[in-house]
């Protein structure tokens, strides 16, 4: 992984047409500005992961697996 130090107001370029600007930095958050062509998808990674998990979750589940699942909940006092 490439690691680059940047200050607020500075930016970096990825490829020829994606620009990532550091807009603001606080104790726990960084505000980023992203300029990219419309064909470039920009997604928060957790949304991407949730999309994949939701697609998996939408598949029908065998009844036996559901029965096992219900068993695990009954064990919780």
């Amino acid at each position: 992984m490439l690691v680059i130090r940047r200050r607020s107001g500075e930016s970096l370029l990825i490829g020829g047409d994606v620009e990532l600007e550091i807009l603001d930095i606080s104790a726990s958050h960084v505000k980023l500005g992203i300029s990219a062509p419309p064909e470039v998808t920009v997604l928060r990674k957790e949304i991407h992961l949730t999309t994949q998990q939701n697609r998996t979750a939408s598949r029908a589940v065998p009844e036996a697996a559901v029965a096992r699942l219900l068993g695990t909940f009954k064990k919780i006092p």
Partner: protein, 120 residues
């Protein structure tokens, strides 16, 4: 009363006021904006999240309190504003809001629940 064709429970009648609206859909299912919750006593605590538009689309969910009673939600003020909740504090699960986590089954039949993501 309107009816919904469900994946697992046949045709069910539902109260339109109890239907859940997802203005932006769910991640991966952005066109699915209307769901109903189906509970069956013998399947508790699993709650089925059934799409009104698409009979074949149904998620298994559980209240997060059933997985981790001490789980602390970290909602942003934008999330809270979107849901018209008090922006100065985290809402109380079971009182102000119901947190459901979608379960997904791996190939080996084990389930995982995603407690990480928030939408926007």
């Amino acid at each position: 009363m309107p009816h919904v064709q469900t994946r697992d429970f046949g045709l069910l009648e539902y109260d339109p006021h109890a239907a859940l609206q997802f203005p932006r859909g769910l991640p991966g299912f952005e066109d699915q904006d209307r769901f109903v919750l189906i509970e069956q006593e013998e399947l508790a605590p699993v709650v089925f999240l059934q799409s009104v538009k698409t009979p074949d689309l149904c998620f298994l969910t559980v209240p997060i309190s059933a997985i981790d009673p001490h789980y602390e939600m970290g909602m942003t003020t934008e999330d809270l504003a979107l849901l018209a909740l008090d922006e100065s504090r985290q809402p109380a699960s079971g009182a102000n809001v119901l947190w459901l986590s979608i379960l997904s089954a791996a190939a080996n039949g084990r389930f995982t629940a995603n407690l990480l993501a928030r939408w926007w």
